[in-house]
Structure formats: structure tokens, C-alpha cells
Symmetry: C2
């Protein structure tokens, strides 16, 4: 099945809002074997919406739109598309009642008259229930089976409705053994794209007919294998085999798959070992703590930490000797180690992280350019430190520094096969 | 001038990468008065690229593409578009030499043979210099003045090249007094969209022919005024007047304009007052520290802080009385105040922040549902606390909590007209 996506919104076309909806739709639909053959963005006005949707209907006959279902004057999606299908707009009393109840309950307020347009629907439309917001979606189909599904633009609502109302409908219309597009992603950290390609050798350009894409990012380089033409069962085994071949070549650098978050993986490993964590951060300013505590359930493992942005704080709170800073510099192996051990001892945790570096854009020198970072991990008294010169702007250097620290812990865990001794060492 | 944008990449169509390039291009071009009339995304293969670009050339005659200029087998942009213009591909010796020097200098390695394709260009093309990466851009134009500009897909490189090579070229081709599209954004915090609309009254739907868009986000609701049809000079004064009218209605809630970052604004206010800052964070886990230290130059103001994720840390490091936690609960006004004052006294800063809350998805109760957050700001001994029930998922609740804390400081500063007394009070 081929589908086209039209994302509606002046703010998208003007570039003030990033289009995340199209990407989400594409991922979800590809997994069903539904191919997005075209994706377009148009403005809020009725004529732009009609032009883009009419073309898509003529070309492909199956269209999903996002946006333009709100209560303001620039929400024209429903009337514009109703006109394409030659349908009038009518007031749906059930939707109106739901909206009124919602406003009374949430805002203790009567539904503003301007919001009544959210209860108007094209005649003959199927209502798509929105469990995540107020505006319902609309499915409109003609006698030839050409259809348009109109979804809200708010990302959280759109995603919920795709799962609740769109995927089930499309699944019903698909042959159960048709070709599907599926991908499998291996996530690597702290190795460059070209070094990965070198290690992969002849696998670098693709594996057994599956494509291999290199996706560099602040978390590291993701390797994505994609199968385009096999049916569901064939796809699974082809991806499995290809992933195994790739792993065999670059295993030490792989920390997870798909959407795996290295912080979540490290927290799980800590929890399995009964280990607790404290962080001491200079240049990252709290970013590592934020990464770790972003994971639900992290309170089992994360005690907290010290943001030691000023040197006096490193000295006073973490016990880093002033002479060490004067002698070796704030950004040095010795200071990183002292921070990691200092916070571990002070917080009484199993593991202490220390991060010190130059996030830029100022502060670099020829010996220590912008991006220079020392990261140390104290695991029950055993300290490992690593230095890197990280690329990018201030945000990217800080994010990559936190990722480097998490990866340093991962490597320490990977090397240590004795998982029993944490509580006895301190 | 009308332009179309085509972003190239399977990973975009599959939804694994968010398209930020199109948005950036649109913003930059709109400021010149260049109207993006269509935006599309297509896959990596030559035939998809050709179909999308051919249509755009026929419809509009001016196209910018991003992506597909790399060294791998799936980088087909140049040969595909060269074919549309009926041009052969030739090796550019200067580009080849530059690439070879780059590899020797950066990687101490010879240029891999596969990368030679980055030195191939369509015959007759104009090279667009890339100061931010290895692959140059390409400008190809036919005898009728129809053109395609091919830019790299890597966002940082693309943005640099737009500024360096595209905007100057387009400026030369535009009438100096033509219509421009310009926007002005007023940023508000901690007030709902509907409450803003209520206060704006008849301005809510637009001001003097300028459109008004409500853009809710985790930082708060942005109000965007856009002028579509005036020339450069008329636009500026119209936006100025409209912004003043809007400000008059909602001034207390506005913290900045455009891309203003509330953390940066607060840091500037602190620096102007000679004030220093320390943070005590529970549910935000370091996110407020990260927001503040994300700003270059923050070391002038930010001493650091304590991530007090576990209650024992609040007690030991911040001096929060254990009985207070037992009595009122971790998420309470008293604990937020004790955290703010505790970190201020311990770090010797002018200002202390305390944040405690329930970020979810678990941990909520009927009395304190998920999203309940208490934020306190201790400004030289004067403490203000505020409670909110913040919407969204874990990330959104934490981000909004940090924003609430920054806004609480903003309101404290706004009320206090005596900016002289900080160093004397402590």
C-alpha cells in the first residue's frame, strides 16, 4: 500500500516548527509495509491544503494529513477537504457535548463559541476518536475507495491517534503476507563512521540485499539495516542474520539497539548489581544527572550528585586538592579522578562519575582546545579515566561528554565478570 | 521569488531522522521575501530524486535540495540532477586536492577511493564552497534561468552554506523593494493559550492585517506575528506597532522575543546585579543546572549546585530537616524552601533555587498527582515559592519545572526595584 502525507501549517512552512509528525507517521506505517511515497508540507489556507491534498489523492489515493483541526480561524483542514469530496459541513452533537464536558471539567468554564467549529464535521465522515486531546480526527472516503485521514497536529495527540485509529484501519486493508519495510538499528558509541566502515569491510555497503545506513549523531553512530521487499516472516530472519554479521565485526562498540538509551541500559546494569550512583559534573553542569534521572525508576540507583561548576565547589564539596587544580589544570585526568572518587565517597555510592572539560565556544588553548574533556568512573574504588576531544558546538560537546562517561562505565562493566563484590568493596 | 525545497534521504522518508533542514531554509529564505511554495521529501534513489526535482523545476523553476552529497553508494543527488540538465559528470581536480589534504590533516590517512565521487561535479556547474565540511555544494542552471542548488544534508554544514552561498546569490536576484515575509515572536511563560486569548480580546485573531499564531511549547506559549505582503520597510514598522499593542495586553507574562532563552535572560540579570546562583534539584535531576550552564559565560554567575535525588541527600547536603520531609512530604512548599535556602547558604551564593516534584509516570496520588511541582527561589534571604501541576510526560514536566523556577526568579526581579543591595545582604 502506498500513502502520501501532507503536514499542514504556516509555522512548518515558515520553518518555525520542526515537522516531527511526518517522521513518526513514516516509522509507524513502514512497519506495516505501508510505503510513504511522497511527503509534502503546505500552508494553513484552504486553497493550499486543497491543492496538495487533491494532487496526492489523484496520484496515490490514500492521504494522511496532520494539523489544522484546532478552534482558531486558521484551522481550515476539515472544510477544505470536505469541499474536495463535495460534502457539506454539519454539527456533530456528540462531539459538541464531549467538548462542553471537557471544558467544564478541566477549566471550570463554558466552551467558548469559537471552539464550536471543532464539533463541525464533513457529512458522511467517520469520526476518529482522540483519547489524547479535544479535537477528534476525521476519515473521509469516496465511492472509489480514495480516502483522507485528518489527524491533529499536536505531536502527542497525533501519535496516540495513529496507534488507536489509523494502524488498525490500515492493517485491515492490507494483505497479511505482503511486502513490509522493516529496519533494525545497532547503536554504537565512541567510534567514528570511517572506523566502523573499515571494520565492517565488505559489509560496509550492505548485507545480503539489506541496505546499511550510517547515522551519526550526538549519541554515536547508529547502524541501520533495512529490508525493503520481503514479507513479514522473511524480513525478520533476514534482519536477524544481517545484524549478527554486523555485530561480529563491531561488537565492542555496540551498546544497544533501536531506541535504546545508554543511560537506561547503565541504570539497569547498576540495578542488577545492586550498585548506586553519584555524579560530579563541571562542564556538563547537570546534564549527566539529567540523562540518568530522565529514566523512570532511576531513584532506585541514582542518589544525586554535585554540580561543581566553580573550582571552589570542586575543592569544598568534592575534596579536590586546590594544588592539583593549580598544578594540572581544571581539565586534567587527576582532577576528573578526584571528582569521581570525591563524590563517590561523600555520597556513599558504589559508583562515582567525574566530568571536566571545555565546552566552548571560548576557553580553548592550543594544548587543550575546545572539546577537550576528561571523564572518570570510580567503580567501588577502581578508577578508569579517558580523554577525548569532542566535536561540535557547546550543546553537542556537553551531550557527548555525558555519553562518553556512560560508555566508560559500560566498558568497565563489560570487562568485569565478577558481579558479586560490590557491596563488600567500598 | 518562489522556491521549492526537496529534502533527500531514505532515513527522512522512513521517519528515522527529523527534517530540520527544511525548517531552517524556510526561516532564512522568508526573511529575504523568498516564499517556499512547496516542500517535499523523497528517497535516496536516483529516480525518486529526479521525479521530485523535475516537477519542482517545471512548477516553480527554483529548487534547493539537501542531502545525498556524501561518499557512499546511496549518494545520488549530483548524477541524478545532472541528468535532468543533460550534463555529464566530470572530476574537479581542485575539489579532489582539497579532499585529499583534508584527510591527510584530520585523519592522517589517504583519501579512500570511494570518497573520490565527492569530487565529481556536473559539467557547467558552479561550485558552492563548504566551509563547514568536506562536500562542496552545487549550483546548476539552464539557459532559461531554471536552477537547482544542491546542499549537504548535515544540518551544521547546510546552515553554514545557506548563509555563505545561497542568501547572497538570491539577494542579488531579488528586487530591493519587493514584498518580504517577516515574523516577530513574543515569548510568554506560565500562562495558558486560552488565558492569553482572553486578555488579548479583539487582538486575539490578528493585529492590523498581521496574523497572530499561538505556539504552545515546553517553554510556554509563543505569540508569533507575521507580515506577509509588505515591503521591508513597511514590514518593520507594522511588526513594531503590532508587538506594542500585544505587549500592552500581556506584558507581565512576556519574558523575551524571538529565540530568547529564559535561562540566558536570567543569567544576564544576575550578572548585572553581581548575583551568583546555586541550584538544589530533586525531580529535575540536574536539568536546571544544565539549562543555566548551557549559556556561554555562565561561569560568571553559576557556582553549581546539588542534585538531591534521594531524600538522604536533601537531609545531609542541604540541611533539610528529616522531620519536615516526614511531616509534609518530599513534594511540599516547606521542603522546596528548605532546599533553596540550604543550597544558597552552603554554596554562599546570592540566589538559591529549590525544585521538588513528581515527574511521573509513577508516583502520583489523588492529593499530589503526577506533574505536581513546588519551586522556591531564595534571593538574598527573601524566599518565594510557587506550586504548579504541570502537564505532559516525564521530560515535559521536568523541563517545565525548570522553566517555572526561572520564571519565578524573573517575577522576583521584576518586583524588586532595588538592584543595589545584593552584596550587602547574605
Amino acid at each position: 500500500m502506498n500513502i502520501e502525507i501532507v503536514t499542514i501549517g504556516d509555522e512548518l512552512l515558515l520553518g518555525f516548527t520542526i515537522d516531527t509528525n511526518a517522521a513518526h507517521l513514516a516509522r509507524e506505517l513502514a512497519a506495516l509495509g505501508v510505503r510513504i511515497v511522497r511527503r509534502a508540507t503546505c500552508g494553513d489556507d484552504a486553497s493550499s491544503i486543497q491543492a496538495a491534498v487533491r494532487e496526492a489523492l489523484q496520484r496515490t489515493g490514500a492521504v494522511i494529513t496532520t494539523g489544522g483541526l484546532g478552534p482558531t480561524a486558521d484551522d481550515m483542514t476539515k472544510p477544505a477537504i470536505a469541499e474536495i469530496f463535495g460534502q457539506a459541513m454539519v454539527l456533530d452533537p456528540e462531539i459538541l457535548t464531549n467538548l462542553q464536558e471537557r471544558w467544564r471539567k478541566r477549566f471550570n468554564h463554558e466552551l467558548p463559541v469559537s471552539n464550536h467549529q471543532q464539533a463541525m464535521v464533513p457529512l458522511g465522515a467517520t469520526i476518529l476518536k482522540n483519547n489524547h486531546g479535544s479535537a477528534p480526527g476525521i476519515w473521509l472516503e469516496d465511492a472509489d475507495g480514495k480516502w483522507v485521514a485528518m489527524l491533529p497536529g499536536v505531536p502527542r495527540e497525533m501519535r496516540g491517534m495513529v496507534a488507536d485509529t489509523i494502524l488498525p484501519r490500515l492493517r485491515d486493508r492490507l494483505p497479511s503476507d505482503g511486502p513490509v519495510i522493516r529496519s533494525r538499528t545497532l547503536r554504537t558509541a565512541n567510534i567514528a563512521e570511517s572506523a566502523l566502515a573499515d571494520r565492517l569491510g565488505e559489509l560496509a555497503r550492505g548485507v545480503n540485499g539489506l541496505s546499511l545506513a550510517y547515522l551519526p549523531g550526538n549519541d554515536g553512530v547508529d547502524l541501520r539495516l533495512t529490508s525493503w521487499d520481503r514479507d513479514a516472516r522473511g524480513t525478520s530472519s533476514a534482519l536477524e542474520a544481517a545484524a549478527a554479521l554486523v555485530r561480529a565485526k563491531v561488537e565492542p562498540f555496540i551498546y544497544g539497539e533501536g531506541d535504546d538509551d545508554l543511560a537506561a541500559i547503565m541504570l539497569a546494569e547498576c540495578a542488577a548489581r545492586g550498585a548506586t550512583v553519584a555524579v560530579a559534573e563541571s562542564c556538563t553542569g547537570g546534564m549527566l544527572g539529567m540523562r540518568l534521572t530522565a529514566v523512570p525508576g532511576s531513584s532506585r540507583t541514582v542518589l544525586g550528585g554535585t554540580i561543581a561548576y566553580a573550582n571552589e565547589v570542586k575543592i569544598r564539596e568534592l575534596g579536590v586538592p586546590a594544588e592539583l587544580i593549580a598544578d594540572q589544570g581544571t581539565v586534567s585526568e587527576a582532577v576528573a579522578r578526584a571528582m569521581a572518587s570525591g563524590v563517590r565517597q561523600r555520597f556513599g555510592s558504589t559508583i562515582g562519575f567525574g566530568i571536566t572539560g571545555i565546552a566552548g565556544p571560548d576557553g580553548g588553548t592550543p594544548e587543550k582546545p575546545v572539546g577537550t574533556v576528561w571523564v572518570a568512573v570510580d567503580l567501588a574504588g577502581e578508577v578508569h579515566a579517558v580523554r577525548a576531544i569532542l566535536p561540535g558546538d557547546r550543546f553537542e560537546i556537553r551531550w557527548r561528554a555525558a555519553q562518553l562517561a556512560l560508555d566508560r562505565l559500560r566498558k568497565t562493566f563489560a570487562r568485569d565478570t565478577d558481579a558479586t563484590g560490590w557491596t563488600s568493596r567500598s
